[in-house]
Amino acid sequence: MLSKSSYLIFIISGVIGISFWIGFNVNLLPTEASINAPIYDELFKILFIIGLILFIGMSLLVVYSLFKFRKRKGQIGDGIALEGNLKLEIIWTVIPSIIVLVVGLYSYNIYDRMGGMNELNHDHSLMGNNSEKIWAGISQSNNNLGLIDTNIEVSAMQFAFLFNYPKGDFISGELHVPVNKEISVKMESKDVIHAFWIPEFRIKQDIIPGQPTVLNFTPTKVGKYPIICAELCGPYHGGMRASIIVEEQSDYEDWFNQNKKDELIA
């Protein structure tokens, strides 16, 4: 017969063990296809494990109490007259506070690594217009001017995305980008609020009428991924989708050269 405290340690380590196992073995997320994705998935894994420990622990406590302290047949009278326990109450104020603070700081770190804390240039290269204030999405690099490989303008309207390649002076219905290059999209809406979401990249930014927004990202995996509008924008909102095609640099250049305006070739 084990003592009470060794049972307790056994159960707690069991809950933690199971949570870690699930956290590391159950994948709830789609393919990782950008620099941001593995950083995001790291945060997800940590939050998932902490969440599982708390959820399984609390559920076990509730179910156990309900079973263990149920009123047996013929039993009368009350339970113990316990009105509180200052030490316990301090423990379950302080420990969650620490967890919340650590998680907050950690997610700040994740956000910084994703590029969220970088000040976006107010004069977006190519579209440079100093008077125009562009609101932050996520920016991978500190200095957009030198490092951005490809600039693309996105216009969203009910119910489509259009992609303008200013360098080639053409508009496409599909977003083609080279792999492993930093891409910057500047987004404007023609009518209502839309959103630009690529689940495989773990990024999203609202497209706001009257207020251009910017999103920078670096795809890491060749393939075709959906671009989804995530903000209710009217009856055909569910159908407002486009594709992003991530391809090798040479394939991208072929596609670009086929589409760009002829006079620019010379």
Partner: protein, 540 residues
């Protein structure tokens, strides 16, 4: 002097119809008004639930094939608006607040009985107006958030009716809030101190403060939005130089506290139910009070976490992340205290207790996804997806609605003098709990993998999981059948409950069931230890 008072009472009793009819009258009795709120709210819940079923039927297939796309948007807008403004808010506040608060403070009625009746009678017309707008020229279709410019550009009559009806419901809510604050602070029986009040009073005090502070902001915002629609002003219209993000700030300044307006009273109700069925004092009364007030303060400064993808500046995102995540601390305290209340008790396992335990488990799950959503980088991926839909329903359905059912099982004997059938009650709980989790747990995965919210059509790879979710919704729909049968059978031939079937110590049980018009035959009892279980086990 006493003769004078008696005469006055006779006059009021003459004016007010008796029996079943009084529930259709402009009654000033807080108990009648409470039941009016509850029954009216439940009827709207059935409407909102029908709309939810329509949404789940549409989503069993990836194509938009069950109803036209614009009707789908009207359905989801009506579903959200009805469930929030006509079911949960009026029931957890108006219904239980009106019925219980005067008992708890030892008063014979609310502070302003006429204002109370007005607050209730604003609800049925505005609800009916909202629903009939669908049949006239189409209901609003910009979602319950009504973000401009969509709400400005969609068909205007439906949107204007929506604004008008939400304004009336907001007004009703403010009247109720003022009434509760006045009743709790000013109508307390002599000798009853604030720190001796049952926990639901504290929850209602906190909630009412939130209602009074934040609902006027929503009202102002919606009035500006209506100007944009009917008078062509440009407050939120970008074509005329307006700013759409300002609307979001103003809207969420109310609508985030609105979540606490829906769950804080539920926290209070659970704090009343658990000690009685566990036969133990409420654990940590003082920390419960402080955590309610902590949630009230923090709840007012977290609204921008709904706007992490709206182009808010980085420093603002960080502030709102930390503030939001910290709400988990006072909320967590309450959950630990409830489990500690159960610990070492003599728990009667009945429908009220099961629904309360279901609430704890569901809400812990919803709270954990809530802390995750508070983290900016996490939120950016799942914002506006089914992950948020799932999280929100874990809070308001798994939380508030489970508590509403728990409370109905708990206080039904008080209101009618009869017990509900336990077998049907447990069947109701099992169907609801299984159906609810089957419906909403898979939606987390949908959101993470690329299904946005508010869509009538989706990527075919999500069909199977959506069908599981719809199956859960079917369970939930079926679960109302045993509940309704139970209510109708028990009202007619339920087992006699006696005045105090649970052996409770809170003041509403220290009178007859159902209670007399003025709550107590004689003087109101002075209850300074509403949770004094276990202290003297022989005295019951």
């Amino acid at each position: 002097m006493t003769i004078l008072i008696d005469k006055k009472n006779q006059v009021t009793e003459k004016i007010q119809p008796k029996g079943f009819l009084r529930y259709f009258s402009f009654s000033l009795d807080h108990k009648v008004i409470g039941i009016q709120y509850l029954v009216c709210g439940f009827l709207f819940y059935l409407v909102g639930g029908t709309l939810a079923s329509a949404i789940r039927i549409e989503l069993t297939s990836p194509m938009s094939d069950f109803m036209p796309r614009d009707v789908y948007n009207q359905v989801l807008t009506l579903h959200g608006t009805i469930m929030i403004f006509l079911w949960i808010v009026p029931v957890v506040n108006g219904a239980f607040g009106n019925y219980l608060i005067p008992f708890y403070v030892g008063a014979r009625d609310m502070a302003f009985p006429r204002l109370n009746a007005v607050a209730f009678w604003l609800i049925p017309p505005s609800g009916l107006m909202l629903i009939t707008s669908y049949f006239i020229d189409g209901a609003a279709q910009a979602g319950w958030t009504a973000y401009p410019p969509l709400s400005i550009t969609t068909p205007q009559s439906g949107q204007i009716v929506w604004i008008l009806s939400v304004l009336l419901l907001g007004g009703s809510s403010i009247f109720g809030g003022i009434n509760f604050i006045a009743t709790i602070l000013k109508l307390r029986r002599p000798g009853l101190k604030l720190m001796q009040l049952p926990m639901y009073c504290w929850a209602m005090l906190g909630t009412s403060i939130l209602v009074v502070l934040s609902t006027p902001v929503l009202a102002g915002t919606l009035i500006l939005l209506s100007f944009d629609i009917v008078a062509n002003t440009g407050f939120f219209n970008p074509v005329l130089g307006g700013n759409v993000v300002v609307y979001q700030h103003l809207f969420w300044f109310y609508s985030h506290p609105a979540v606490y307006i829906m769950v804080l009273p539920a926290f209070g109700l659970v704090s009343e139910i658990l000690p009685i069925h566990c036969r133990k004092p409420l654990f940590g009364y003082k920390t419960m009070v402080f955590s309610i007030m902590g949630i009230v303060v923090l709840g007012l400064v977290v609204w921008a976490h709904h706007m992490f993808t709206s182009g808010t500046p980085p420093w603002m995102r960080l502030f709102f992340t930390i503030a939001t995540a910290f709400i988990a601390v006072p909320t967590g305290i309450k959950f630990f205290n409830w489990v500690a209340t159960m610990w070492g008790g003599k728990i009667s396992i009945n429908s009220a207790m099961l629904f309360s335990c279901g609430f704890i488990i569901n809400f812990v799950f919803g709270g954990i996804t809530g802390v995750a959503l508070a983290q900016v980088p996490f939120d950016i991926h799942v914002h506006d997806t089914y992950f948020v839909v799932a999280h929100f329903h874990y809070i308001v359905y798994g939380g508030s609605v489970f508590v509403i059912f728990s409370s109905i099982y708990h206080w039904f004997p008080k209101v009618t003098g009869k017990l509900l059938d336990e077998k049907l009650g447990i069947l109701h709980f099992a169907l609801t709990f299984i159906g609810f989790n089957l419906c909403f747990a898979p939606q987390h995965w949908l959101g993470l993998n690329g299904m946005p919210r508010r869509v009538a059509e989706y990527d075919p790879q999500f069909q199977f999981v959506n069908q599981i979710s719809s199956l859960g919704a079917l369970f939930m729909a079926i679960s109302t059948i045993p509940f309704l049968i139970n209510i109708f059978l028990s009202v007619k031939n339920g087992k006699k409950a006696g005045d105090n079937p649970w052996g409770a110590l809170t003041p509403e049980w220290l009178t007859s069931s159902p209670p007399p018009v003025e709550n107590w035959k004689g003087e109101a009892p002075l209850v300074t230890e509403p949770y004094g279980y276990g202290i003297d086990t022989t005295d019951n």
